[in-house]
């Protein structure tokens, strides 16, 4: 990937992306209906922005994230990173892609291998991409731990996930995602399992990382308020369609699509 010009191409470009799942055939060969998780999605994410994808469960928001990190491949349509098609990557180019795009998962209790220490977890991306010596990796891991607010990094280095709280685990997951200095991170509901006081600190951390390192984020959430707080632009996704894309401010203030209006209306708040 050479000579990328952020003005010419968005960092991420999805064009006409459709993802269909084939449910298993019925017991007597009855044919199940194809389920369209995503239906003809167009989406551009620009370098350096935090882009919010808001939707309810089953809306296709998680599928979108999984397509963008190539955990799955689209049925139709094209996905580009920095103007280059990623649909059919394999071998070396795929490995290069994997060093540029990372993901933060929803459940911090499930996303860390219970048998690996914090150090082993965070250094894994460095190891598999053959970056640095054991000493320099150790330095990098400690430095990353401190970046995500686990200070002093040395104190957490040899811990295991079960010794950490949910909020601390999620910080470890963030550390694993940023340790390679990727260009694009998909954060799939990173705060939905955390208590409000811990969640808000994590949102703050993500926004600080963006400011400090210039990484681009896709923030997937069901919480419109969180998207508004963190994101520059927001897309609302409903039943596999993107119904509205706008700046966070505008979407809340002048929602156009009826679904967005409904979503705003039912946001819990203090009405009494």
């Amino acid at each position: 990937m050479t000579n990328y010009d952020p003005d010419k191409h968005p960092l991420i470009e999805m064009k006409g992306v459709t993802k269909a799942y084939n449910p298993r055939k019925g017991f007597f060969g009855r044919k199940g209906n194809k389920v369209l998780a995503l239906n003809d999605i167009d989406l551009n994410i620009h370098k350096g922005e935090i882009f919010g994808l808001v939707g309810q469960s089953g809306s296709g928001k998680t599928t979108t994230g999984r397509l963008l990190v190539k955990l799955e491949d689209p049925t139709h349509g094209k996905i580009r990173l920095k103007g280059e098609l990623i649909n059919d990557l394999g071998g070396k180019p795929l490995q290069h892609f994997r060093s540029k795009v990372q993901m933060i998962f929803q459940d911090p209790y499930q996303s860390l291998n219970p048998h690996l220490s914090i150090a082993e977890t965070i250094s894994e991306p460095l190891v598999v991409h053959g970056i640095g010596s054991p000493e320099s990796r150790r330095e990098k891991v400690i430095q990353t731990l401190e970046t995500v607010g686990l200070r002093p990094g040395k104190a957490f280095y040899n811990h295991y996930p079960h010794q950490l709280s949910g909020g601390q685990r999620q910080r470890v997951a963030v550390a694993r995602a940023i340790v390679l200095d990727p260009e694009f991170i998909v954060a799939d509901e990173p705060t939905s399992m955390l208590d409000a006081t811990i969640a808000i600190q994590l949102l703050r951390l993500l926004s600080r990382i963006r400011d400090e390192f210039g990484m681009t984020f896709l923030f997937i959430t069901h919480n419109l308020a969180a998207a508004k707080y963190l994101c520059d632009r927001v897309a609302v996704i409903h039943e596999g369609h993107i119904v509205e894309v706008n700046t966070a401010e505008n979407i809340i203030r002048n929602p156009e699509h009826p679904y967005t209006k409904k979503l705003i209306k039912v946001q819990p708040g203090f009405r009494f």
Binding site: Q110, L112, L116, S117, E124, V128, N158, R176, L180
Partner: protein
């Protein structure tokens, strides 16, 4: 890999294990047999008369009941039964543990690969497993033995291992299938880890306890198969084993004349397999918290 974390896990598991009366009894019986197996290495110290295979008491030409010189008596050619029993313990451990070990290694690796790879790899491996699983292993062994004559002990170990991996691989495969979709495996894929790395670094530590559990049950099976084979006369003729001792009792027509010769190997086979079975049951409890009583966590 051997660090504090694994030691801690082991200690924690051990504490639960040893609280269980079944586990305690299993360990107790096993210890006795282990001492017997170790004692068999000391037999040469007592002179050639106590060699379990070739040591013949020059004064005895027939099977004799227990005496001071022969604690459990002698067989029909004057060999010491106690010495044979000790030697048999050693052989039982070798046969049981090594064939269980091979079948577990085979089953675990095949199970993990099959579960993780999916698709046609999975289909081929699992159909093979199905075919082997439905074959009656003892009958196959008997047919092979009748074709090729008596087996060497290591060949028996090997064949038992080959016959016994499929059940393990099925269990490991289903465990792998559920692990495969866990976010920490996906996180590792996103980070760029290769399939080999994911299988051995991320999946293996999570399935190993289960593999060990199955190993204890496989030991039981292997010991029984070897004993049956030997008793039926297809064992390794150059090795003393408990099954072989039973075969000798039967062949020499002492089945109902020499209980001191018949009972020790018979009871040993039952007790040792029982011990491994109890070990497995207690380990099951360590691995499955639902079987645990409150307050033991």
């Amino acid at each position: 890999m051997l660090n504090n974390h694994y030691v801690q896990r082991f200690v924690k598991g051990w504490r639960i294990f040893i609280k269980n009366p079944v586990g305690k009894a299993g360990i107790g019986i096993l210890t006795v047999f282990m001492i017997m197996a170790l004692a068999s290495f000391c037999l040469p110290l007592f002179g050639p008369m106590y060699d379990p295979m070739t040591g013949i008491d020059p004064n005895i030409k027939i099977s004799t009941p227990p005496s001071l010189t022969h604690w459990l008596g002698t067989d029909n050619v004057g060999r010491d039964i106690f010495a044979q029993l000790l030697e048999g313990a050693k052989v039982a451990f070798i046969v049981g543990l090594s064939s269980a070990f091979f079948s577990i290694v085979l089953g675990t690796v095949i199970g993990m690969v099959s579960g993780y790879a999916g698709g046609w790899v999975d289909a081929i491996l699992m159909r093979t497993a199905d075919i082997i699983m439905v074959m009656p292993s003892l009958v196959i062994l008997l047919i092979l033995a009748s074709l090729f004559g008596q087996f060497n002990i290591w060949l028996i170990v090997f064949i038992i291992a080959i016959m016994r991996w499929p059940a393990v691989s099925r269990v490991i495969r289903s465990q792998t299938l559920s692990l495969k979709t866990r976010p920490f495996i996906e996180a590792s894929r996103v980070a760029g880890a290769s399939s080999v790395r994911i299988i051995f670094r991320h999946i293996m530590p999570n399935v190993l306890p289960l593999a060990f559990l199955y190993m204890t049950f496989r030991v039981t099976a292997a010991i029984l198969v070897e004993a049956a084979l030997s008793f039926l006369g297809f064992g390794d003729p150059s090795q003393v084993s408990w099954g072989m001792m039973l075969q000798w009792v039967w062949k020499s027509g002492h089945m109902f004349q020499a209980p001191y010769w018949l009972i020790p190997p018979g009871i040993s086979i039952s007790l040792l397999t029982l011990a491994f079975y109890m070990l497995g049951r207690a380990m099951d409890e360590v691995l499955d918290p639902r079987l645990r009583k409150e307050g033991q966590s």
